[in-house]
């Protein structure tokens, strides 16, 4: 009898333990989203460096404030600092894209401006000229060459940039070529209602993803409402890599071409046809060469949205090999989306396979970064005086919950350093507070949405481009002008 009582007690204790464990784990399905953009903001943005934590021996200072949607930073041979302002933000807000020289203690000096074809997403200075990746939501993506006097010409045009993601990441390679990247039109290969929310589908209803090489489809199709037919209850059926309302068939071939979606490409400084470097990415936003000359990319991964939503896919950092295919739209890293239930949304199906034949098997990523962190522009430390030699410093714009999927807490909104050998990503610059989050969420004067990070030519200081306030309340994006900041991080005692 005593044994039985003890058994009952232990059973109850174990059950309580399990109940506590479950409770402590948090029930994802029952909890609301708590993304970093789900906040309110009143201008002006407060700047307070004490609200930002760094490893011991480092300091941070604002170099420029009041910028509108800044996205990139570069340096000329004299060490002068230049920033680009995007000219476009999610939320369908257009301003003027600008290249600015930053002068400590005075207003930025405009060097060049663009038209209504933002967002300008990246800039690099190389051999006497600036090269800008122009996102091209209205006229298609371009790579621009801008002289120091502001004269602008296009090296590449017509990149498939009218969709969710844009032309990005221009950098100069050690081989003398310019490398750039192109994001996909869609979340996971299928045009649907979510693309109308971005704003582009009504402007360009015939647009869809463009493969770099010929692909063979499984013929999986997806039914959705027709967001173009306003007020109608009409349904449409859409396959992969085709316009909205176009079904596909098993064995159907979609011809490839370059420039294409979800790719890294390169072009000679003199211009000409772009050449494919690698493909099968989703949104390869940031590009950088490591100190030993290997090319790496950050790749924003799938969201829980649209006709083919994908759950729980962390952003990736890749080492880029020439000619390789990296898995979009059927893989996350080396893992197929359609096997098991790992990528199944809580309310939805396991993502169905789109490619009948694979161009290859994707390699393992160099690092897996947090889901929805929007891990973007990055650079490698090259100078032992700064420290962390060979590690990649990655700016994380932060989540766009609930529009891209629910999160239980803000994700990103900081700079991390990644050991590309082990895949370990440690915080480097992060806001103080009880939890992680952007300054507007924490109500402090720290980091908001870091989008790019680049070392100065000497490698002694890391410049962090902070896009500024961008809120998400589930009914569209609310970016705020004049809230962008350029930060500079260096050792406390610079050598």
């Amino acid at each position: 009898m005593k044994c039985m009582r003890q058994a009952v007690v232990w059973t109850v204790f174990a059950s309580s333990l399990c109940a506590a464990a479950t409770g402590l784990s948090g029930c994802y399905a029952l909890r609301g989203s708590s993304g970093g953009g789900q906040t309110d903001f009143s201008a002006p943005r407060e700047i307070k460096v004490a609200d930002i934590a760094l490893p011991e021996g480092y300091r941070i200072e604002p170099i420029a404030t009041g910028l509108t949607f800044p996205t990139g930073v570069t340096f000329d041979e004299k060490g002068s600092v230049y920033v680009i302002e995007s000219g476009y933000s999610y939320g369908e807000v257009w301003t003027v894209p600008r290249l600015l020289r930053i002068q400590p203690g005075s207003e930025p000096v405009p060097i060049a401006s663009g038209g209504r074809n933002g967002p300008w997403t990246a800039v690099t200075y190389h051999q006497g000229a600036f090269y800008v990746a122009e996102g091209g939501v209205l006229e298609g993506g371009r790579i621009l060459r801008i002289t120091p006097e502001g004269k602008t010409s296009a090296l590449v045009s017509g990149c498939p940039s009218w969709g969710d993601h844009h032309t990005n990441g221009v950098i100069a390679g050690p081989d003398g070529w310019l490398y750039f990247s192109q994001g996909t039109a869609t979340n996971s290969g299928v045009v649907g209602e979510d693309n109308a929310k971005f704003g582009w589908l009504k402007r360009k209803p015939e647009f869809h993803d463009v493969p770099c090489r010929d692909i063979v489809l499984t013929g999986e199709n997806f039914e959705s409402a027709n967001p173009i037919a306003e007020g109608s209850s009409e349904k449409v059926v859409t396959g992969g890599y085709v316009p909205l309302g176009t079904p596909t068939q098993n064995g159907q071939v979609i011809p490839g071409k370059v420039p294409c979606s979800g790719a890294v490409m390169r072009i000679k400084l003199a211009g000409g046809q772009p050449e494919l470097v690698a493909w099968g990415f989703r949104n390869p936003f940031g590009l950088a060469f490591s100190p030993d000359g290997r090319l790496y990319a950050t790749d924003n991964q799938y969201d829980v949205r649209g006709s083919r939503p994908v759950f729980g896919a962390g952003d990736l950092m890749w080492q880029i090999n020439f000619g390789e295919w990296y898995g979009f739209p059927d893989f996350h890293g080396a893992d197929p989306l359609y096997e098991g239930e790992r990528y199944k949304p809580l309310r939805g199906d396991v993502p169905k396979r789109l490619f009948e034949i694979y161009p290859g098997r994707p390699p393992r990523p160099a690092a897996v970064l947090p889901v929805h962190s929007s891990s973007d522009g990055f650079d490698f430390s090259r100078n032992p005086d700064f420290g962390y030699m060979g590690q990649a410093f990655v700016a994380q714009l932060g989540d766009e919950a609930p529009d891209t999927g629910k999160t239980l807490a803000p994700v990103g909104f900081k700079v991390v350093r990644v050991d590309v050998g082990t895949g370990v990503a440690e915080d480097f610059a992060v806001n103080r507070g009880k939890t992680n989050g952007p300054a507007s969420w924490l109500k402090t004067g720290g980091l908001e949405r870091p989008l790019a990070a680049r070392f100065n030519p000497e490698g002694t200081a890391l410049y962090v481009v902070d896009f500024g306030v961008m809120m998400h309340h589930g009914e569209g994006v609310l970016p705020r002008t004049d809230t962008g900041v350029l930060w500079r991080i260096a050792r406390t005692k610079e050598k």
């Binding site: 309580s16 994802y28 915080d427 009880k434 939890t435």
Partner: protein, 113 residues
């Protein structure tokens, strides 16, 4: 043993673990200084970043809940890894081998300190 006593044991157990969970989940070099780990935990750290960090960044909350402030015993962590729970997928022995799982548990225990 009366029902009231059993309920008391259950209630106290839950309260005990909930109270232990009230600490901050925040870690990382900028906030808490550089950490050092045992060899097993160091290997667990690499495995954690390959499999767990994307939903629990640095052991904090993200897509999923925080881990650093949850005093779950090792066997429950392992059970959750193998069988999943709620939105968390299960990880098979092929994906996360037994030794990696042991190392992850060691890493989480050292990270929680």
């Amino acid at each position: 043993m009366k029902l009231r006593s059993l309920l008391l044991v259950a209630g106290l157990s839950i309260c005990f673990f909930l109270l232990l969970a009230c600490g901050s989940a925040r870690r990382g070099e900028p906030l808490t200084g550089r950490s050092s780990f045992s060899e097993e935990a160091g290997l667990g750290r690499i495995a954690f970043y390959a499999h767990c960090d994307q939903c629990h960044p640095g052991g904090e909350a993200g897509l999923g809940p925080a881990l650093n402030n949850k005093p779950l015993p090792g066997f429950l962590i392992k059970m959750q890894i193998r069988h999943g729970l709620g939105a968390m997928p299960s990880f098979s022995n092929i994906r996360v081998p037994e030794r990696d799982m042991d190392n992850i548990v060691n890493y989480l225990k050292e990270l929680r300190r």
